[in-house]
Symmetry: C3
């Protein structure tokens, strides 16, 4: 990717903060989509965000400190562009400061958890829209808020070492239930192969009634224009657990990409018959008008288990939660994604 950076003036802060010349990058994504969804017998139509990628606005930059050391920051917020209203310009998506060098990267702030990355990188639909496998992933009523990100994190990333990559992270709970976290991820990317395994834990002493853990492994294999993706994940909390398997792939031809995935989730609650199994099938088409602008359509349908209890039922789109076990939910999105 080519880059051209802003030359920006730095601030003379009072009380001793000197500053100097710098480069900062403004970036963002606006992704708006017409979504039609049907949950059981209830249908609705919306103009919605985030169906191909998550809308965002951010600033980031790197400063060369000499001697191979660099400092960097990254602040990124969500945007709700369909109403311009919710998800104001706080920097919830990522908000970090880093020191980088031959030793790797030390990163402080609000960041993605290591146990999140396999979910999105090894899903043809990422974490967005009707096709994402996250539609049928549950944190099991644990109250853990660390499926995607955590506050107050200190993280360390390995430096480039052949194709091996890895990171560890701890997050201080600071009295916010479900924010405390310890996790790590290690992987290998080389030639057509990318594979990684991750583990995260939000402990009982972080304000939960029991430990919550997330273990997952994912990979992709490129064969010319076709890329195969697969992942397996296990989440555990008290007497509940969920095991999810996804197989999918993307096929690129010219500016077009076809996507498909099949996800199967097995949920169990102790010895109860109250399981919460679910299956999802998703198809998508993406047309890249340029590297930054894409048109897309995604269709998916999911089946809830017949005996699942209310509150353990999954659905697609933004409608009310489903209440009848065994019902299907489906969604269709057609939209445009523009990044800057």
């Amino acid at each position: 990717m080519k880059k051209s950076l802003l030359a920006l003036a730095a601030l003379t802060a009072f009380a001793g903060a000197a500053s100097a010349q710098s480069s900062v990058t403004l970036f963002g994504i606006v992704d708006l989509s017409a979504v039609s969804s049907k949950n059981g017998s209830v249908s609705r139509k919306d103009l919605t965000n985030n169906q191909l990628n998550s809308n965002r606005l951010g600033f980031r930059g790197v400063e060369d400190l000499g001697g191979g050391l660099r400092a960097g920051f990254w602040i990124e917020g969500a945007m709700s562009n369909d109403d311009g209203n919710a998800a104001g310009q706080t920097w919830q998506r990522r908000s970090t400061v880093s020191l980088m060098g031959g030793f790797g990267e030390l990163r402080l702030g609000r960041d993605y958890t290591p146990s999140f990355w396999n979910y999105t990188i090894f899903d043809p639909f990422g974490t967005n829209g009707p096709g994402s496998m996250l539609n049928i992933v549950s944190t099991l009523g644990s109250g853990a808020g660390t499926l995607v990100r955590a506050n107050n994190t200190v993280g360390y990333f390995l430096p480039a070492m052949g194709g091996v990559y890895g990171q560890v992270q701890v997050a201080a709970g600071e009295g916010v239930a479900g924010n405390k976290y310890t996790g790590g991820r290690i992987g290998f990317a080389g030639g057509p192969v990318n594979i990684a395994v991750a583990l995260g834990k939000t402990p009982k002493d972080g304000g939960l009634t029991d430990d919550y853990t997330d273990k997952n492994v994912g990979g992709s294999f490129r064969m010319g224009a076709f890329t195969l993706m697969a992942q397996y994940s296990m989440r555990d909390f008290a007497n509940r657990d969920q095991k999810t398997t996804m197989v999918g792939g993307t096929l690129a031809f010219g500016a077009s990409t076809l996507k498909a995935s099949l996800t199967n989730s097995k949920g169990a609650q102790g010895s109860s018959a109250r399981d919460f199994d679910a299956k999802q099938v998703a198809f998508g088409y993406q047309y890249d008008m340029s590297k930054r602008t894409a048109l897309y359509g995604v269709y998916s349908t999911l089946d809830n288990d017949g005996v699942a209890a209310t509150g353990s039922l999954f659905s697609i789109g933004t409608g009310a939660a489903m209440t009848v076990g065994g019902e299907k939910s489906s969604g269709f999105a057609i939209g445009v994604r523009h990044s800057f």
Copy 2:
């Protein structure tokens, strides 16, 4: 207007969003004004925003896709610069993504309604400050939130066709009362003449107790340094309606501009004597220190009808609502507007 754009790096989004070099524009307005207002017997003094133009901060950009096609985005938020506090950096003023080409423009997101534009373009005071005719315009207690903007819109704009311009827009209600909307506007601008007619409807099935409609026509005619402006609008809801006539003009000499307007609103509620007529007279002076920085002063006074009921009384400025029929309200603002 000359433009110089930022060269900015685009984001490599995860899950397939490639991106490329781009240009993005940062823009904004800070407009602060000392305002003295008198509503009936109550006076107050404030330092206030938005008295000449609306304060804002935004980013926008256009990408050339080749073949005459372009993609663009526009995110713009309000700023409350007198206290830095309210109206945080959400992108409520406008938040859109567009595809443009020989066919015109397709625009998705939160945007101005077609039925809004005549109100501001054909008023010497726009929609800001003590002089705006909107001071005595009512949405008739309908709950319609579409006088200025709507969420979840899909809009289409005609391409350049001689002097003819036009747009249509629909907005999904998505369960928010008063947001559902259908509207259009068509106009002609050529030589000294600019004229347009618009129609907007927020239907009963968008969460109101009846249909709300807004029909308006406006125009301007340039005669050397003097520009004459006039508009007529009708708003209807249940057994209430309001008809508003405005005549005004601007006279430019050197860096100075004089402005004046006279507005007359007739409000009726069924066969009741509870009408809510009002008249407003406004005078203004603007001195452009540069194209971006202006000093200004505006004075206006309005008369409420003697028998108008509480809640149907109009006022100028930020004081408490007026409660006595027949009372006058007046306001004076002196301020500086700086755009960037």
Copy 3:
């Protein structure tokens, strides 16, 4: 400090706001720190913002109007980078528009109060972190919100006149209790000396039960690598008053700076034995990796008076308020500050 500015396009606002080419500066600070604090017998650990400087994101710019006149704006918001969540992108830290020329500067909007500056400029730790003398400064339960900033201000700054500098400010209360304000500051900076005196008043008729006043004087004296700082301040409200003395200094060698301060506060409430005296000792070390990036550590400890009542007890860090008179509070922060 070197500067390189953005060339940015200005906005064509509707309703008459023309605009032209401009330069705008983006700036900010991300400062994250691991903080360990102990208040009485209660300890806690946090990842926290603002321990060396206050986190911020802002835009500012100056336009040359010709004839020695300039217009400028400054919008600056706080960032909570440890959770990306609180302190959203409103522009509370500063939000102003200015006209500048040979006459000085006229500034409107939300700004720092004149009576604030001595507190931060003449403290080795500024207003941030465990070392700041503000840890034991009280606004005496007055409800005055003007210790640091005020809304709705109109301010005037003297032009450069030898080493003399000064400013006056009034803030309209606008019905917000404790925001009304009148204040001024005058100082002299020349050679190794910088000294200033300031006075601020938040009057009873601004929604308080009595007048609140803040009088302070501060200075610094540079002797080679060592800079001595001292300040004295008096705050008064009803039958309560507080007098605070601080002596401190900084010693620079290479990229390192040592800091220390000793603060003594005497608080009295009428003839009651309920005084609220407190003492603080602070030590700090800062290592500048570049002009923009610094590593730092700060330790401080404070002693509350034995007979102080609950609510008049001071503490360091973010824990719960202390409740037992005579207890100590201490805090240690180690962090990285990166500005852009």
